[in-house]
């Protein structure tokens, strides 16, 4: 029977050394041994490198859970998850983390709402619209955003952005309404005009398309003007608030989102694009209906990475979120200070009693465990989405 020797590492683990005798390649016994030994060594090195990083994750998980579980033994779950009273240093202490969990959720969601549309549009622009040369210049510039240390972002948020919001908050917000709302409204009006006109009989519809779009545009203009004058009247008494950190976290998450989604869009094959053009699709149709769906798994990964970047950020929120353990009222009021899980862990660790292991100390680990579980869930979810998209794309 033919002996299988193609795989150099084939049977090393069992300790048997077969002479490597590929057809046409004859090695002496010593050379064969040397080759197998070096293959074995390489396998050991690579395996231990891979094992070390997964072991690190397991150890982190283990140690955090070891210090988090005593908290729930001491205080139970219900206070931690349902109360908004966070007074860890009082006697008796109160450990209601709901407001802090809400704070983390609010800033993460708002940062994502800022970074995801902007980041994906920027990636589409770079990948599909800009010429190759320009893209090569623009991408590193965006990636520089990721190289700025977070304490520098925090300092900017505290020293520049917070006073700016206090002094010119209303004006800035009303300008933001126009800058963000304008383009969105323009696209929506054209699309709505097209959709409405297609409801009419075909000839009348063709004629009515642009007048209808104009009608929608006029309505949108009035709505935006109302919104911006409402924003103009807002008084921001404190600039260290949820809006401030959401903006900064959004900017910090931006390079991750742009870079990963741009790579995903680039990875979509030329054949797909050319097939789409060959069928008579326009560039917009190709991008929206072919390239983006084909790249969706990568885009999901980009969004997840961006969200986790924002959720895990500590320094910026510790410096510029105001750190009030309070649920904003109403909950969408971004102009109130909030407190996040990460900032609480960083800020409270110093005086937390780790010699005897007080509830205050373990409460912080309970928060860390919560964060870890959320990011784990995010990872699993994005993995699932990516796998599903891959199966669909491969025509299964």
């Amino acid at each position: 029977m033919p002996e299988y020797t193609g795989n150099a590492g084939g049977d090393v683990a069992a300790g048997t050394c077969r002479p490597c005798s590929r057809p046409g390649l004859v090695l002496g016994r010593a050379a064969g041994l040397r080759r197998q030994a070096s293959a074995f060594a390489a396998r050991v090195v690579l395996f231990s490198a891979a094992a070390a990083s997964s072991a690190a994750v397991l150890f982190i998980l283990g140690f955090i859970l070891r210090d988090a579980l005593p908290f729930f033994k001491l205080r139970g779950f219900s206070e931690f998850l349902t109360s908004v009273k966070w007074f860890p240093s009082r006697s008796p202490p109160e450990f209601g983390a709901l407001a802090i969990i809400a704070g983390s959720a609010i800033v993460t969601a708002c940062a994502a709402a800022f970074a995801v549309p902007l980041g994906i549009s920027a990636a589409v622009c770079m990948s599909e619209v800009l010429p190759f040369r320009t893209r090569q210049a623009v991408k590193p510039v965006i990636e520089i955003l990721a190289a700025i240390p977070s304490v520098a972002y925090g300092f900017f948020a505290l020293v520049v952005l917070a006073p700016f919001l206090q002094d010119n908050g209303g004006t800035a917000l009303s300008a933001a309404v126009w800058v963000a709302g304008g383009p969105v409204a323009a696209i929506a009006c054209v699309a709505a005009g097209g959709a409405a006109s297609s409801l009419l009989p075909s000839r009348a519809g063709r004629a009515a398309r642009w007048p209808l779009a104009g009608l929608f545009a006029a309505a949108a203009f009035i709505a935006l003007r109302e919104l911006s004058s409402a924003a103009e009247d807002l008084e921001i008494s404190s600039g260290t608030n949820a809006l401030n950190v959401s903006l900064i976290l959004g900017i910090m998450a931006l390079p991750t989102v742009v870079s990963v989604s741009e790579d995903a869009l680039q990875a979509v094959g030329r054949d797909l694009r050319e097939g789409s053009y060959a069928l008579g699709a326009t560039r917009a149709e190709t991008v929206v209906k072919v390239v983006i769906p084909a790249a969706s798994s990568g885009l999901v990964a980009a969004v997840m990475l961006g969200i986790m970047r924002a959720a895990g950020e500590t320094m910026v929120v510790w410096m510029a979120s105001g750190n009030s353990a309070k649920v904003p009222s109403p909950i969408y009021n971004l102009l109130e200070p909030i407190r996040t899980l990460t900032a609480t862990i960083a800020g409270d660790m110093g005086e937390a009693d780790h010699v005897t292991g007080s509830a205050r100390y373990h409460a912080l680990f309970a928060m860390a465990a919560g964060l870890l579980l959320v990011s784990f869930a995010c990872n699993v979810a994005s993995e699932w989405v990516m796998r599903r998209a891959r199966r669909k794309n491969s025509g299964g």
């Binding site: 407001a99 600039g239 009030s324 660790m349």
Partner: protein, 281 residues
């Protein structure tokens, strides 16, 4: 935080190692371990730096793990000096005596807290009761205190700091801070927030008060060195270092915990924003 402590400790240990390549001046060899309050920490670190610079054989490590942990370390025998921003509690004394440790208090400095507002705020003076009302949420607009119609932005140090502890004890007297209080991580950040925010009120050690903010009179007394040292200014407290028994005269430990009585020690204390216990001038 362990990482930070180890790093700090390593730095403090490594500094003299780098410096002692020549012969050892003074000839005194000793190792002092300080643990405890994050408020007293800067004093201990400045003292350690000065001592190690003067006596090349002395090695001092300073860890900042909180007053409570400092007391525990002294009781366990894992440190020589417990830096504490409060006096030892009766139960800590009891635990210490049970273990054969006799804590001796050395009051090294006074910590006076100035209550600061934006310079454009016309309010000049408040009573401790009014300040407590602001921080507990009873008063939320400056117009109720004789100021303009501006919402009060309440700024506090984080609950982790000794400064917070002192303020809570001396002004709030067991009442809870309200939910809307903004917490910041350093006294410099308190000043930064107050100097840029019209409606803000905050508190910080005397050393952090400069012309960009206005320090209020509290109960009619302006905060300054004399009013704090004499005990007239109400928002002030002593800071302590505890040792096991009174240290042997002439030992490095003795000169460490009595450094605050020397002219140099008082200059150091003043330079980092605290008030010396005695007047060297």
């Amino acid at each position: 935080m362990n990482g930070r402590r180890i790093l700090l400790g390593a730095l403090v240990v490594l500094l003299p190692v780098c410096a002692t390549t020549g012969q050892e001046a003074g000839g005194r060899k000793a190792k002092i371990v300080v643990d405890g309050s994050t408020t007293v920490g800067p004093i201990a670190k400045a003292f350690a730096e000065f001592m190690m610079d003067r006596d090349q054989g002395v090695k001092i490590t300073v860890a900042e793990s909180g007053s409570g942990n400092g007391a525990k370390s002294l009781i366990n025998g894992s440190c020589d000096v417990a830096a504490m921003s409060r006096f030892m509690k009766p139960e800590e004394f009891k635990a210490a005596v049970d273990k054969g440790v006799l804590p001796v208090a050395h009051a090294v400095a006074m910590d006076g807290l100035a209550v600061i507002v934006h310079p454009a705020n016309p309010v000049k003076a408040l009573t401790t009761a009014q300040i407590a009302d602001i921080y507990t949420g009873g008063v939320s607009n400056w117009k109720d205190l004789g100021g303009p119609d501006v919402k009060i932005v309440i700024v506090s140090r984080d609950t982790n700091s000794g400064t917070y502890e002192a303020f809570e004890e001396l002004v709030l007297r067991k009442r809870k801070m309200c939910e809307g209080v903004e917490y910041v991580g350093s006294s410099g950040a308190v000043r930064q927030r107050v100097q840029t925010t019209l409606g803000a009120i905050g508190y910080a050690g005397l050393g952090f008060v400069d012309r960009t903010v206005k320090a209020l009179e509290v109960d009619g007394i302006a905060p300054d060195r004399d009013s704090v040292a004499s005990g007239r200014y109400p928002v002030a407290r002593p800071l302590f270092m505890f040792t096991n028994g009174y240290p042997k005269l002439g030992s490095a430990l003795h000169s460490f915990v009595t450094l605050h009585l020397t002219k140099k020690g008082q200059e150091i204390i003043e330079a980092i924003g605290f008030v010396p216990m005695t007047d060297y001038r």
